[in-house]
C-alpha cells in the first residue's frame, strides 16, 4: 500500500510517500511497523494524539482495520479555511 505523509509529519520523516508491504491488521499495527523502521519515523509517530489518519482518503482512526486499504495517510490536525 501507499503510505503518505503531510505537513510536519512529511518533514520529520523526510519524504512524502512510502510504498509498504504489510500484513498489519489495523492502523495502529501499521504505525508500530513504521516506528520500528528508523528514528525519524519513531519521532514522527511519538505522539499519536497529535496525528490524524485517513484510510483510502477518508478520515479514520488508529483502531480502524486496514482490510485491503490501498492508501493510508498521516498528518497533523487540519488547518483549512
Amino acid at each position: 500500500m501507499d503510505v503518505l505523509y503531510f505537513a510536519w509529519v512529511r518533514e520529520r520523516i523526510g519524504h512524502p510517500k512510502d510504498r509498504v508491504e504489510t500484513r498489519a491488521a489495523t492502523v495502529r499495527d501499521l504505525v508500530e511497523e513504521l516506528r520500528a523502521r528508523e528514528d525519524r519515523y519513531a519521532a514522527a509517530f511519538a505522539d499519536l494524539s497529535a496525528l490524524r489518519v485517513a484510510v483510502d482518503q477518508e478520515l479514520s482512526d488508529f483502531d480502524a482495520p486496514l482490510g485491503d486499504a490501498r492508501e493510508v495517510a498521516f498528518f497533523p490536525p487540519m488547518t483549512g479555511g
Binding site: A7, L59, M78
Partner: protein, 142 residues
Amino acid sequence: MQQEPFDLGTEASAFAARQAGMGAVVTFTGIVRDVEGALDAMEIEHYPGMTEKALAGIAEEAMRRWQVGDVLILHRYGRLTADDLIMMVATASRHRADAFQAAEFLMDYLKSRAPFWKKEVTDAGESWVAARDEDEDALSRW
C-alpha cells in the same frame, strides 16, 4: 482548488448570476493575516484526491441540511503572502437564514475537516499553524 489567485468580485458575481429563483447569496472570504507584521509567506499544503472528496462531502452535507440551491468552495494552495485571498465560499438560497447558516457550516467544516495545512514563514523561521480547540469545538454546534 487552485494555485492561482482569484478575483472575489468576479467569482461572487458569476455565482449570483447563475442562480435562478434564489433571493439570497452569502459569501465569505478568508484573507492571509500578518498579525505580527513579520510574515514573509503563508504556504498551504493539501492532500490531492482527498481534498476534492472532503469538499464535495461537506458541500453535499450543507445542501442536505439547509435549503440551499447552490454552493461554491474555492481554496488556494501553494505560496501566498499577506492580504492574499486564501479561499471563499458562497451559498445561494431562497432566504437569507439558510444561506448564512450553510456558509457558517461550510467554514467550520473547512477549518478542521478538509485536508489543508498552513505554514507561516517569517524572518525567524517556519512554523506550522496549530489547529485550535475552538475550531474543533465549533463543529459540535451543528
